[in-house]
């Protein structure tokens, strides 16, 4: 983290968390350890950890960031599939998804081979998943099972991986500063969540979709979204945007974050659960915090790329070393042939 502006951002978040920790402690001293306050303390403590790990990944550079998101995708998909009832017939399909499709996707993203990053999941993985499940021979609710796995991979892996891809956006005059853009997206989306929750608790009257998510209110969205947009606008100096563009992009993040949370909440409830897991004390699962970023990431990535006219596809074609490796393997005919028994054995 050589960029001083990035340090200011981290410092700002630390200051906000300090205030939150102190206020929580004072409240607990005054009112005792009520369940609500104990949960609040857990949540604030978890925010410290999340913020620490997120910043550490940025400090480690490209490898750290991509490693971190690979792990997040893995944990998110783990929660998603755990809650989705997948029968025996999907076991092998899922083995391939977890141990091959996911890591290879992040390898293409990190390399970066932009064309392959775009199509690896929507084309190759989505063709492979139904084939492998059909080979397993179980036709019971086949379409439903296949769609479930595909949706899980799409959201938890494909959508999420657009966040670290922000590091590669070639924005004129912003070279080497893209880590701040990633920080900006995560910060505004998460603050929007917090603000919507707080304002919803304070002024919330009209629930938007009570069956899907009881805590999402129209007032919360309006006031909380406005507050998050203001914060995002105030941070325009860390972004490549003008203040007005920063305001528009923040509003976009608020909207995408809101709908991401809403849709993932509907998915979660259709699977009969209230939380995605219990990995983060006080919050629920990893997906309970990532849900708002799932839609915000890819939409922000593509609109920003379009706005600045970046040419990702031509800038990041297949890296030479990948091409070299593939050629080396293809030239050795036993290498190609030897793969088939291996694949058959792994199944």
């Amino acid at each position: 983290m050589k960029d001083p502006e990035l340090l200011y951002l981290v410092g700002g978040v630390v200051a906000v968390l300090l205030v939150a920790s102190i206020v929580t402690r004072l409240l607990i001293r005054k009112r005792g350890e009520t369940p609500v306050l104990v949960n609040l303390r857990q949540r604030v403590n978890a925010w410290w950890w999340m913020m620490l790990v997120f910043s550490a990944s940025l400090a480690l550079g490209r490898g750290g960031v991509f490693g971190f998101y690979t792990l997040l995708s893995f944990l998110a998909l783990r929660e998603f599939i755990t809650l989705s009832p997948t029968p025996r017939g999907d076991h092998r399909t899922l083995t391939w998804v977890f141990f091959l499709i996911l890591p290879l996707h992040y390898l293409f993203a990190w390399a970066p081979w932009y064309g392959m990053f775009l199509i690896w999941i929507p084309v190759y993985a989505f063709v492979f998943i139904p084939i492998r499940s059909a080979l397993a021979g179980d036709t019971d609710r086949f379409l439903e099972r296949t769609s479930r796995i595909q949706w899980g991979v799409l959201t938890c892996v494909y959508f999420l991986s657009h966040l670290p891809m922000l590091l590669y956006l070639p924005i004129p005059g912003y070279e080497g500063q893209n880590a701040k853009l990633l920080f900006f997206v995560v910060l505004v989306t998460q603050i929007s969540d917090v603000m919507q929750y707080v304002f919803g608790k304070l002024f919330g009257k009209t629930r938007i979709a009570p069956k899907v998510s009881p805590s999402k209110t129209r007032e919360g969205l309006l006031y909380g979204g406005a507050a998050a947009t203001l914060i995002g606008t105030a941070l325009w100096w860390t972004t490549p945007f003008t203040p007005i563009a920063a305001a528009a992009m923040s509003a976009l993040l608020v909207a995408a974050g809101f709908f991401g949370g809403l849709v993932m909440s509907a998915v979660k409830r259709s699977l009969g659960a209230k939380d995605w897991g219990s990995g983060i004390p006080g919050h629920g699962g990893v997906l309970d915090r990532l849900d708002s970023l799932l839609f915000a990431g890819p939409i922000f990535f593509h609109i920003t790329g379009y706005y600045f006219g970046t040419h990702m596809a031509s800038t990041y074609s297949q890296p030479g070393w990948m091409k070299g490796l593939l050629r080396l393997w293809l030239d050795q005919s036993p290498g190609v042939i030897n793969v088939f028994p291996l694949v058959a054995w792994l199944g």
């Binding site: 755990t82 076991h91 899922l94 969540d193 009881p214 897991g277 919050h283």
Partner: protein
């Protein structure tokens, strides 16, 4: 040391939580659970607090665990499994019940799967009489029902690679021993019900949703 690391890795891979509050009252325990995966005894063993784990021994099929150096090392050194033959001929002269009682008398707790073999479906099969034999021979045993959730999805029967899904080991309240005049079949049915009871609505209490 190896055991502690292995138990940690098992909990990390399966999402099973470490149990913190097990009273140490000097009584011998038998943990009994539904059986659907090779991971089952491993997971119960890994969920126990370190001290208790040291004297808890899974009861397992001799035919499976005597094969190969790795399995022998795991069952002999790490889990100190009480190996019971499945083959009726071997069973006759090796006295499986005696082995379990010996283990209990030497101060070990046992992990037992009363269904006998891994179930292919999600159903819990009928219990075999071993549990009843044990508790009639040693009436002050504490019988603890355990429900294992999702492990049949992580590593189903016949699969080689485990999936990285989350499972759960839910420990229930101790099951009272056979009542006056209770038949063996009735007791075994009650034991099976106690495992089912732990399975119902026992997902951990959930917090209010919010960021």
């Amino acid at each position: 040391m190896t055991s502690t690391i292995l138990a940690f890795l098992v909990r990390l891979a399966t999402g099973v939580r470490l149990l913190r509050d097990l009273p140490e009252d000097g009584k011998r325990r038998v943990y009994f659970a539904n059986h659907s995966s090779h991971l089952d005894s491993l997971v119960i063993w890994a969920a126990l607090p370190g001290r208790q784990r040291a004297w808890t021994r899974p009861v397992a099929a001799a035919e499976y665990w005597e094969k190969g150096a790795l399995r022998r090392w795991l069952s002999g050194r790490i889990f100190k499994a009480v190996l019971i033959p499945r083959d009726p001929a071997r069973m006759r002269h090796e006295d499986p019940l005696g082995r379990m009682l010996n283990a209990l008398d030497s101060g070990a707790d046992l992990i037992l799967f009363p269904e006998g073999a891994r179930s292919e479906t999600d159903e819990i099969g009928p219990f075999k009489p071993g549990l009843h034999h044990l508790v009639s021979q040693r009436p002050d045993l504490v019988l603890i029902p355990v429900f294992l959730e999702n492990l049949n999805r992580i590593l189903p029967k016949g699969e080689l690679f485990p999936l990285p899904l989350m499972g759960q080991a839910v420990f229930g309240p101790p099951l009272p021993g056979p009542f006056e005049g209770e038949t063996r079949a009735a007791f075994l049915e009650r034991a099976r019900d106690s495992v089912l009871a732990v399975s119902r609505g026992n997902l951990s209490p959930l917090p209010d949703e919010g960021p």
